[in-house]
């Protein structure tokens, strides 16, 4: 949320030049979604983006509202996305504070109470496994490991994808060609298989290691998106102006252009969290992810696999947790897309 965004003030929300006699607050943000795109044309004074708390136009004083303020309003109105956000925050916090919440330690065995079906007695909400470990506690710790991996993947993949996409789109020419052919090449390899190979030969176990392996592949989609917006942004006048003012390439790319391409990046980063949780679960399930006795949502399902037909709870609850988390993330991503990136809004 940098000051550069303040540039997209009311005068740009309404570029048709219709005189607004009323204060800007009552302008419906939905009125003209296309112009709210992150690529919206800059004001002539774009370079001095930091002031502009008030702008004068048509002789009227109009209160400025940043692009982010509009996006926030649109997102808050998206009921499903808001509900999902609340649910997701609760689930993720339960993972973060697993140690405080969980009634048992994740590796605490109790052979007297093995294979107990879900019950309120002794807090075995999700039952226990063959070794008598409490599955509710293990699921909480599983959430903790899975979310750790997923967020790390999202951050890494976003940084790599943005950097490669930005360089590719900004310089175009042979740099672009080289980077994009490389991206295409990675996309021709079946993703899960490559991840499994990397995990098998690099060795896994720790969440950070798993996250780095996932991030190796997950940047490609974002790189293409960022490249696309940079290709069009680099033709804008404000980029020319920044060049004329003597800004360096890096400054132009990341200080001037990036904030205008931020919408799709944020949406994509959100969705990567969901895909990362699913993929990490698959890796751990196949035995190439988080290693026992540590728990991840995928390895928990793997643990329960052999006795799944009698102890159904061992497979059901970790799986439902994954579905819940990914569902929430996808709904939030949808809401964010509508809020930040209205040009890509699905035509209903």
């Amino acid at each position: 949320m940098t000051d550069v965004d303040e540039r997209n003030t009311v005068d740009e929300q309404n570029p048709d030049g219709q005189p607004e006699s009323a204060p800007a607050q009552i302008i419906e943000p939905q009125a003209d979604p296309a112009t709210l795109a992150p690529t919206s044309p800059p004001a002539p004074d774009a370079v001095r983006a930091d002031e502009l708390a008030l702008v004068h136009e048509h002789g009227l004083e109009i209160k400025a509202r940043s692009q982010w303020a509009y996006a926030r309003r649109r997102f808050l109105r998206h009921r499903l996305a808001m509900l999902s956000l609340i649910v997701l925050v609760i689930v993720l916090l339960a993972g973060v504070f697993a140690k405080q919440i969980a009634p048992y330690a994740y590796d605490q065995q109790d052979f007297a109470h093995s294979e107990v079906a879900p019950t309120l007695k002794a807090n075995h909400f999700f039952g226990t496994d063959v070794l008598g470990r409490d599955y509710f506690s293990r699921v909480l710790f599983g959430i903790q490991n899975s979310e750790r991996v997923a967020f790390l993947v999202a951050v890494l993949a976003t940084v790599i994808g943005t950097a490669i996409g930005a360089v590719s789109g900004f310089y175009s020419g042979w740099t672009d060609n080289l980077l994009m052919r490389f991206t295409d090449l990675i996309l021709t390899l079946p993703g899960l298989a490559v991840l499994l190979t990397a995990a098998a030969f690099l060795g896994t176990g720790k969440p950070t290691r798993v996250a780095f392996i996932l991030a190796l592949l997950f940047w490609t989609g974002l790189a293409r998106i960022v490249r696309g917006s940079f290709l069009s942004l680099r033709e804008k006048e404000y980029v020319e102006a920044a060049k004329a003012a003597g800004s360096g390439d890096l400054r132009i790319m990341f200080r001037h252009m990036l904030p205008n391409a931020i919408g799709p990046i944020v949406v994509n980063a959100t969705l990567i969290v969901g895909v990362a949780i699913l993929t990490e679960a698959a890796l751990s399930f196949l035995g190439f992810g988080i290693q026992p006795p540590a728990a991840s949502l995928g390895s928990l399902i793997n643990d329960g696999q052999n006795v799944a037909s009698s102890d159904w709870w061992l497979v059901t609850f970790p799986g439902l947790t994954i579905v819940l988390i990914v569902l929430c993330i996808n709904f939030i991503g949808d809401g964010l897309r509508d809020a930040l990136d209205p040009t890509q809004r699905r035509r209903a």
Partner: protein
């Protein structure tokens, strides 16, 4: 069009070459392919040395790559690390048809169902059907494939154990003694049914979303209104005029989906113990046989490149408005 096809085919060759380099260098450079063999107490030093010589592992990586390519082209991908008598391609030739059976069955059904759902959702936009289809597709995207596979396996195993009814088998490719002809086919389908169902879920979700979007776009276009205006039956308008054009993006998406399907096959074949490519891949990963893994990756990468090629050419063929020069 013909020049486009030729150019596109020629373009695939460097991609194939680059993919082979990427696969070879990353797998061999990641770690010593012999690392696990050297610590294996069952193998003598002489055996390991012999493997090293057989695979030219003391040479530089470009030389090793040369030997690998030579083996791949002239010697059925050469030998696996541990069984000098076998050829990798012979194993692959056994498992590939099994995977193709599974993937094709799932894909054809997914296309039919997905397209059907998408078209109906678009025609009855905002109906109860449309909303439930949307909700279900969101569920489909959020559902881990392996979890769904396990749940279905548990369900059908329990049906069998409780009522002694065998609707679908829950593991393996065939029963021991099936007989021939139609009995074999029915038995194979009973074995493939649940794996195919699990593979289909994500594909159906994807195709129905794509189909709905493209159908909506087409339905609201001018030429469809013209067709209606000149008095064609609604059924004919949707099925003949609208559907044909709306199918184009779905066809390409389904060709591009191949890589994801292989990923799904790796998971389902492992769970249902089908003797397919996925199972072969996982077992070689566990035994760390770098050469079998590289051959597998190369074969699937070739298939994906081939399907990308098909997608591009099909797109040009189906939509003559596309110009390539």
């Amino acid at each position: 069009m013909i020049t486009f096809v030729i150019r596109r085919v020629l373009y695939s060759i460097p991609v194939l070459f680059a993919a082979s380099v990427l696969i070879f260098v990353s797998v061999t450079a990641i770690g010593d392919p012999l690392a696990t063999l050297k610590v294996n107490p069952l193998l003598s030093k002489v055996t390991v040395q012999r493997i090293e010589e057989r695979k030219h592992l003391n040479e530089s990586i470009p030389v090793q790559y040369g030997y690998w390519v030579k083996d791949a082209l002239t010697n059925k991908f050469g030998t696996p690390l541990l069984q000098p008598g076998n050829r990798i391609w012979d194993d692959l030739r056994r498992v590939i048809p099994h995977t193709l059976q599974l993937v094709l069955l799932a894909e054809i059904l997914a296309l039919l169902i997905g397209v059907g759902i998408g078209v109906y959702s678009a025609i009855r936009q905002y109906s109860a059907f449309d909303y439930s289809a949307t909700t279900l597709s969101f569920l489909g995207f959020a559902m881990p494939v392996f979890w769904l596979a396990l749940m279905l396996q548990v369900l059908f195993t329990n049906i069998f154990l409780k009522w002694n009814v065998r609707i679908f088998y829950t593991s393996g490719l065939s029963s021991e003694d099936t007989g021939g002809g139609i009995h074999f086919v029915v038995d194979r389908l009973q074995h493939l049914a649940i794996p195919a169902m699990t593979l289909m879920v994500i594909s159906i979700a994807t195709y129905s979303r794509f189909m709905r979007a493209s159908m909506l776009e087409v339905i609201n276009s001018d030429y469809v209104r013209t067709a209606r205006a000149k008095g064609l039956m609604e059924r004919k308008v949707t099925l003949k005029h609208a559907l044909r054009n709306a199918l184009i993006p779905v066809v390409t998406v389904s060709a591009l989906n191949f890589g994801a399907l292989i990923g799904g096959a790796v998971i389902t074949e492992t769970i249902f113990q089908l003797d397919g490519m996925g199972n072969y891949f996982i077992s070689n990963l566990f035994s760390q046989d770098a050469y079998a893994v590289m051959a597998w990756l190369m074969v699937t990468a070739t298939a994906v490149i081939l399907f990308n090629l098909i997608a591009d050419i099909a797109y040009g063929y189906l939509d003559p408005r596309i110009r390539y020069d």
